[in-house]
């Protein structure tokens, strides 16, 4: 056997600055399928005593190609991979509209208490009274904070909550004997809004925004008049996706109500007004709350979320199953139509929603209290406006007339003539050690850059961020174009070929054929 083996990770084809392809702490990690082995397992299992199987001829005959790693190998695999991720625990994560705030570890510990983590959704109700109480209390907090009548706790994420709110509206219209088919959505809305409306068979009609970035009540009235008697609802985000508070919101709600429609508010940006403004006071009929945004449950690389949906008195009777009621004999869980006193429109998910997220969000609310939640909203707004004030002289604001709320929107006007696009600017931020802001959203602004620092950032952190952005702006204006177009240069990967990925999708690992093996051996 020779000591000169081919590189074991040949599939990575590293451009070798080092023999291994590694760069100090940035260690290349092969796919599980390239390093795992079929003959081992990282879990010990006792072999059962002799028994008579009862699989009735359904035994697995198909091959099961699932390689394993022993525990030490698995730990290295995942820890090395984890080190290729940016995270809030490493630095500011200013993704606009995503509210990447600190995730308190107390909440993780609480969610793992056996009394919450190890209870089954269908245990006798008498054995889960504490869980029902927690969900009920969490719901009561959400109703108080939003000034709304009731809450459907089961939606699994924001888009699922939108679906819940819009289904409630559809059910309420049906109960009124009306078949309204139009939903108004401003052009700046999250993509989930029109997608949700369309999923429910509504026709989406756009509402234009004013030059100052907000929606005028007059514009809503005009569109409503053009679709008289057809408008089921308006879906409006407030503060909106440009980071502005909708100044006409009360009037808009009145106009929609007068015409027999409902007001769905996208609650993605609730963090800006938590404890400061109650959506219920503005005339909202339904609003989902992203517990993974405002209430800090971890994003986990893309979920899980939770999207409890608060409802006005008019929509409350149609809230989906399950419902939790407080009675003198304890908490009651209503799981079936037969047991419901109202008229639920149906069921959105099996079981009772994202309990693990309720525990974390409730712990967050208790920790902050009324004063802390108000302070969090104020600090979030303060931080966004501070970033804005420190950058407004070098970057460009599409909507300078209003103060920003919890996020500040810039456009790419300031990059004109530099040959640097918004995307390049974002990628250069990666090299400076920051996660970029949200880019190219909202769609109503050219080359949008939406920065949401959240209340978790200290002044020092913001100053560092601002200084880096200012340096980058000057570099772009100086003609240091390569710094941007070649970025990122220092990340675990440089820019990836997304077009190629979509054109010829490779969505799973397959064993290399003889050609690839030969190539790897070279």
């Amino acid at each position: 056997m020779t000591n000169d083996l081919p590189h074991p990770i040949a599939a990575l084809k590293p451009k070798r600055e080092t023999f291994t392809g590694n760069r100090a702490l940035d260690i290349e990690e092969p796919l599980l399928f390239e390093i795992g082995r079929a003959e081992i397992s990282g879990v010990d299992m006792e072999e059962p005593e002799d028994f008579r199987p009862r699989l009735g001829g359904h035994e697995r005959k198909a091959e099961l190609n699932l390689p394993a790693l022993s525990e030490p190998e698995a730990m290295r695999h995942y820890v090395r991979l984890s080190q290729k991720n940016y995270a809030i625990d490493m630095g500011i994560y200013p993704l606009g509209s995503c509210t990447m705030k600190h995730n308190p570890r107390l909440n993780e510990a609480m969610a793992r208490l056996p009394g919450f983590a190890d209870i089954h959704p269908l245990q006798p109700v008498s054995t889960v009274q504490g869980a029902l109480e927690l969900i009920h209390e969490c719901g009561r907090y959400l109703c108080t904070l939003t000034g709304m009548h009731s809450v459907a706790m089961s939606p699994k994420a924001g888009a699922h909550g939108e679906l819940c709110g819009m289904m409630s509206i559809k059910a309420a219209l049906k109960a009124r004997g009306e078949d309204r088919r139009v939903v108004l959505v401003p052009e700046s809305a999250h993509g989930t809004n029109p997608a949700t409306a369309a999923l429910l068979g509504f026709k989406v009609v756009a509402v234009p925004a004013r030059e100052d970035g907000t929606v005028a009540a007059e514009a809503v009235r005009e569109v409503m008049a053009a679709h008289e008697g057809e408008v089921a609802a308006i879906m409006l985000t407030n503060p909106n996706t440009c980071g502005l508070f909708e100044t006409d919101i009360v009037e808009i709600a009145e106009a929609v109500h007068e015409a027999g429609g409902y007001f769905y508010c996208d609650g993605a940006n609730f963090n800006a007004i938590l404890g400061k403004v109650r959506p219920g006071d503005l005339g909202v009929d339904a609003m989902h709350i992203n517990l993974h945004k405002t209430f800090s449950t971890p994003h986990g690389g893309g979920g899980p979320g939770a999207g409890p949906t608060v409802l006005s008195e008019a929509l409350a009777p149609y809230a989906p199953l399950p419902l939790i009621e407080k009675t003198e004999a304890g908490y009651r869980l209503v799981e079936t139509d037969e047991a419901a006193s109202d008229d639920p429109f149906g069921r959105m998910t099996a079981f009772h929603g994202q309990m693990g997220m309720f525990v974390r969000a409730f712990a967050w609310m208790l920790s902050h209290g009324a004063d802390g939640m108000r302070q969090a909203a104020e600090d979030a707004v303060l931080n966004a406006n501070y970033v804005r004030a420190r950058l407004a002289d070098v970057m460009t604001l599409p909507y300078p007339d209003h103060p920003s709320m919890h996020e500040v929107l810039f456009d790419e006007h300031f990059l004109e003539g530099t040959g640097v696009a918004t995307l390049d600017f974002a990628k250069a931020m990666i090299d400076e050690g920051f996660h970029p802001m949200t880019v190219y959203f909202p769609l109503v602004v050219h080359g949008a850059m939406l920065i949401e620092p959240t209340e978790s950032e200290s002044r020092a952190s913001l100053d560092l961020f601002v200084a880096a952005l200012r340096d980058l702006v000057f570099a772009a204006k100086r003609g240091d174009k390569e710094r941007f177009t070649e970025a990122p240069r220092f990340a675990p990967r440089r820019r990836l070929d997304e077009t190629g990925a979509a054109r010829k999708p490779v969505l799973r690992w397959t064993a290399p054929g003889p050609e690839e093996q030969a190539e790897a051996a070279e």
Binding site: P14, L32, S41, M45, P53, R54, L55, G56, H58, R60, A62, A68, A74, Y78, V79, S82, Y86, A87, D89, M90, N103, G115, F116, A117, I119, H120, P121, L122, G158, H160, E162, G191, T192, P194, E246, K276, G302, G303, G305, A306, L321, E338, T349, A350, Q354, M355, A370, M373, A376, L382, N385, P403, S456, P488, A491, D497, A501, A502, L507, W509
Partner: protein, 447 residues
């Protein structure tokens, strides 16, 4: 407040830099009468110690699965999860990162999703899988919508062996979409004749195996009839571990396979968060809901991963998207894939065998109790028993003795004449003593 870094001085300095005299100047777009001065209804902030005390008091009012004999399944399963899995998902870089929209600094999440998709394909016997859905029930709903899009038909036929709450989720979605659902009556023994209900207007047939009642179902003839009629077979499972031992739905000819992945890596959590698995054929990928992770390479030719085929999704397609889903179950998918990686085929098969062995032993013990009948002859780790009396009352009585005996079917299917049925599950966590004490308590309760 321990989570807020600013001092009063910081705030004052920053307001000065902004040019505002007071924080409420920044809230000046809010109608004046709508701006709250305080929130008197809620208490003030609390220390970590106080919050912990309050939360623990709530947790103490619940009876945890590990506290004694436990035999509940029905879509959520009590399994042992290796300690390393929880450590992995609590890595800051996984826990506190967002959806991987900037792939250059998200390769950790992306590579684990690619591995997850591959494992789900292997487990289900399908060609492609997405990066997860909210849970098994919503995945089933999305599968039906996808089948209606693909076939341009509007009728779904739902087996009587489908989890009742999965059925309700599908019905709710279908009702809103003006699609039609034909729901077969509850089918504890798996004897329904679903073939007769598949016709030229059927978009899809939804069949769960092992069924809600535990019965293993032969999917092949159903897939065959679907092919003849131009309908699609949506195969559902709620217990992913079963697929370590039984023939995967893909091998039987299923077109879309959806299921609950909670069993691997994820705790019971009172019903959520869980992780929905969604797999199908390569030719259907452009109609799939949810995020997909794909392999590509970077500017230097190094292999890397990205979210791909985004033109199906809401943030690009808006009202033309295949689904409105955005956030999925990323961290639960990571828990699933980490547990699966530790198990491997060998470990998964052993785990599945251990489950099946326990369930067979429990079935024998319960069948020996006078008056008890085991309804299923082919099952994996759960099965339905008929009791000589009201199952809910008996289960409540056993709960009083510290034994969580199983699910009275009438809880989810009231008014169907199924009051005497109890759905019972035994995983690898059930000990011989637990099972014997269950059988003894049942014997006493029925005496």
């Amino acid at each position: 407040m321990r989570y807020l870094p600013h001092t009063a001085e910081d705030r004052a300095d920053m307001l000065r830099a902004i040019g505002a005299a007071h924080i409420d100047e920044l809230f000046r777009d809010v109608p004046e009468d709508k701006l709250l001065k305080a929130l008197p209804e809620l208490p003030g902030h609390k220390s970590e110690l106080d919050v912990g005390r309050q939360m623990r008091a709530l947790a103490a009012k619940n009876r945890a699965a590990g506290e004694g004999p436990f035999f509940l399944g029905a879509g959520a399963y009590h399994h042992h999860v290796p300690a390393s899995v929880d450590h992995i998902i609590q890595r800051s870089e996984f826990l506190t990162s967002y959806t991987p929209y900037q792939p250059e600094i998200s390769q950790g999440t992306l590579q684990t999703l690619f591995e997850f998709q591959t494992q789900v394909c292997e487990l289900t016997g399908m060609e492609v899988a997405n990066a997860s859905m909210y849970d098994g029930s919503t995945a089933t709903g999305e599968a039906v919508l996808m089948a209606c899009r693909l076939t341009r038909r509007e009728k779904a036929v739902l087996s009587g062996g489908l989890h009742p709450q999965y059925r309700e989720v599908v019905e709710t979605l279908a009702l809103m979409e003006d699609d039609e659902c034909l729901c077969l009556p509850p089918d504890p023994r798996g004897t329904e004749d679903i073939l007769a209900d598949i016709d030229d207007e059927t978009a899809c047939v939804v069949v769960q195996s092992p069924s809600f009642y535990g019965q293993l179902i032969d999917l092949k003839p159903i897939a065959e009839r679907c092919r003849q009629k131009g309908a699609l077979l949506v195969a559902v499972f709620t217990e992913a571990v079963a697929l370590g031992l039984i023939e995967p739905p893909g091998a039987a000819g299923a077109d879309i396979v959806v299921g609950e992945g909670q069993s691997l890596g994820n705790a019971l959590n009172f019903g959520g968060p869980y992780v929905g698995l969604f797999a199908t054929r390569q030719k259907f990928i452009r109609q799939m809901p949810g995020r997909l992770c794909g392999q590509t390479h970077d500017k230097d030719g190094k292999r890397g991963f990205v979210l791909t085929l985004n033109t199906r999704e809401q943030h690009i397609r808006r009202d033309k998207a295949t689904s409105n889903i955005c956030t999925n179950s990323g961290l639960c998918a990571l828990a699933f894939t980490a547990h699966m990686t530790l198990l491997g085929a060998k470990g998964l098969t052993a785990l599945a065998r251990a489950n099946h062995a326990k369930a067979c032993r429990l079935a024998d013990l319960l069948a020996a109790v006078p008056g008890v009948e085991v309804l299923n002859e082919a099952f994996f780790n759960e099965f339905t028993i008929r009791l000589p009396g009201d199952a809910a009352e008996i289960a409540e009585k056993l709960a009083g003795e510290g034994i969580l005996a199983g699910l009275p079917v009438s809880r989810l299917e009231p008014g169907c004449g199924l009051d005497d049925l109890l759905l019972v599950c035994a995983t690898e966590t059930a000990s011989e003593e637990d099972m014997e004490s269950f059988a003894d308590a049942l014997r006493r309760a029925l005496a």
